[in-house]
């Protein structure tokens, strides 16, 4: 007797697999096209930027977030709402003690590298997930915040965790209140 077919219980998983596999195919193609790791990293960052400037609109439309008043609120928002919405993970946020503008997102689990065991030979400085940096940078720029986003640690390169560092560069503009004189 044949089992009744599963009613696609892993629909979401397949969708995520589609994105992850497509990303993998893209990186593989880039490694074929460009010899230097920096070129691949830059390309991924630029691509991520292009995605980020559009993704932020989708994000704001879907989540009813209130206006943020500090950088740490923004960092929390990125980690707890945006990452959860798009990648299904919640990185933890740590703040650099010495500076008010520097934050780190620590990714325990990174779905993008689900099918990656190790970096290919001769590609030791490839930032596989550099797209994420570009996405965050592009998204922040569309809400008038400039930031420097880089990978501080990468599990694929042998570190214990994957850490994305966000450094906000300009001051948040203070809300100009209209006062009746």
């Amino acid at each position: 007797m044949s089992r009744p077919g599963n009613r696609r219980p892993e629909c979401h998983k397949i969708n995520r697999d589609l994105f992850v596999l497509t990303y993998g195919a893209l990186v593989a193609q880039l490694c074929k096209d460009y010899e230097k790791d920096e070129d691949v990293n830059n390309y991924l960052d630029k691509m991520g930027y292009g995605i980020g400037i559009r993704l932020v609109e989708d994000f704001l439309a879907r989540s009813c977030v209130k206006k943020c008043h500090s950088y740490s609120e923004i960092a929390d928002l990125i980690a707890q709402v945006a990452f959860k919405m798009y990648l299904g993970i919640t990185p933890s946020v740590t703040r650099n003690e010495s500076s008010r503008n520097e934050f780190s997102l620590i990714l325990d689990k990174n779905p993008l590298v689900e099918f990656v065991e190790e970096l290919p030979a001769g590609r030791s400085s490839l930032c596989y997930c550099n797209l994420l940096c570009g996405v965050i940078r592009g998204a922040l720029e569309m809400i008038h915040l400039t930031a420097d986003v880089t990978f501080l640690q990468d599990r694929l390169k042998g570190d214990k965790v994957t850490e994305i560092g966000i450094t906000f560069l300009k001051k948040l503009e203070e809300k100009k209140c209209r006062r009746k004189k």
Binding site: L26, Q29, Y86
Partner: protein
């Protein structure tokens, strides 16, 4: 699901990126389409493996095509193929009246000449999926009025 937006944007960026790097290197249009199609092929292979892990064995070719039209398309593009035609001699035409990757682009004839770029990846996806199910094929796409498009699958007898 929010994932859809991510994939759509990534796909569009990929197409733009491939053509931009082609401009610099003076590569023909055909090679860009091939690159995109090959990426889709690899993704299709992987995807179909994960998808059909627990499904029952397929009876014949037509069964496989129906699976692609219904379950596969629904999972990837959130809807089924609207029309499947075949001549029972190895040629299948899959018609999607509202193809997800084209809906945001135009609703008619505008940008028609750019449409093939955005279909190459999906052609590869179908070809890769069929390949890992044991069917060798050639997949092409045509668009006459967006967002409707037709994918033609030609089964190759090995």
């Amino acid at each position: 699901m929010a994932d859809e937006a991510l994939f759509l944007l990534l796909h569009n960026e990929m197409v733009t990126g491939v053509y931009k790097s082609a401009d610099q290197g003076e590569v023909e249009n055909g090679r860009c389409i091939t690159k995109l199609e090959n990426m889709g092929f690899r993704v299709g292979q992987g995807l179909i493996e994960r998808f059909t892990k627990d499904t029952a064995r397929f009876k014949d070719e037509l069964d496989i095509m129906k699976f692609i039209c219904k379950d596969f398309w629904t999972t990837v593009f959130k809807k089924q193929i609207d029309n499947l035609r075949t001549n029972h001699q190895g040629i299948y035409v899959l018609q999607d009246n509202k193809f997800r990757l084209l809906t945001q682009m135009s609703a008619g004839k505008q940008y028609l000449d750019h449409a093939p770029k955005y279909l190459a990846f999906t052609c590869g996806l179908i070809r890769g999926g069929l390949s890992n199910l044991g069917i060798k094929s050639i997949v092409t796409a045509e668009v006459s009025a967006m967002p409707a498009c037709k994918f033609q699958v030609m089964i190759q007898k090995m």
